[in-house]
Subunit: 132 residues, 2 copies
DNA sequence: GCGGTAGTACGACCATGGTAGTCGAAATTC
DNA sequence: GAATTTCGACTACCATGGTCGTACTACCGC
């Protein structure tokens, strides 16, 4: 079973670096994140180790350096986390979430147009498919 | 600042009971939730106490009974939690989340049609408004 | 009056995310 | 070859959510 890919904030930030870079050492990640959060290097290293325990990342040694790599795809994590929220807050009703987002008015007009086109596309070609 | 209305699973479940009922005793909540989770009554009572500390619920005494009431609106909680997710996972881009949901194919065809109408409505009347 | 019951209060414990200090070993520098 | 820096390992701490057990209390039926 695909375990729960529910990540915390820092974990997400780390994964983003890994997804963008492909491979990165703890130091690289720290450097990338230092500007926005100013954490101690050890914090990043510890988090990476914990994440490795959970299978979120893997590493290989390059000399003394550990190069970490993401072991779960960004799409997977997104899917899990969105699914979790939909379950918790909207009792599994994805459409209700879309509804909420639309009504909140946080979507720019141009985006609305894009989304509308996306819906139309899905209505057209989506007859027998189910998107997975 | 409106504190963080980020609730856990049990907290959500409890809030749902309160939102639906208006007022409820710890026992009522326990009864309502017992079927789906089978928790000890004290668990509910403790959770309610903790939630009161955080201002999520309030209570008044009716004899020796405590009648709890939600002190934050469902919409508020939804907003906070969705906002949190959008921030964490989609870096604040709500449209990206809608996009994700649409592509995941978890939305039924009838829903797609409804959402499309909603988008059209927002495009039309949404010129100066901003949804709040 | 007395025991059972219902209901709250309090404290304990576990997991997880986040944060960091310290330690030891290896690499680099003098 | 010794001193310094570098970097991972380990340990510890704190907060929060979740889960209860136990203790206290007030009321009810007999």
């Amino acid at each position: 079973m695909p375990r729960k890919h529910i990540l915390g904030d820092l974990q997400l930030a780390i994964m983003r670096v890994l997804w963008a870079r492909g491979e990165a050492s703890a130091g690289d990640v720290h450097a990338a994140l230092h500007a926005e959060r100013g954490l101690a290097p050890t914090t990043i290293a510890t988090m990476l180790r914990k994440m490795e325990e959970k299978g979120l990342v893997g590493h290989r040694a390059d000399g003394r350096l550990f190069l970490y790599r993401a072991r779960v795809a960004e799409a997977k994590v997104r899917h899990s986390m969105v699914g979790e929220l939909v379950q918790r807050v909207f009792l599994g009703d994805s459409a209700a979430l879309v509804n909420h987002l639309l009504r909140e008015g946080e979507i720019a007009p141009e985006e609305l147009a894009r989304l509308k086109r996306l819906i139309e596309a899905r209505q057209k070609d989506g007859q027998g498919r189910d998107g997975r």
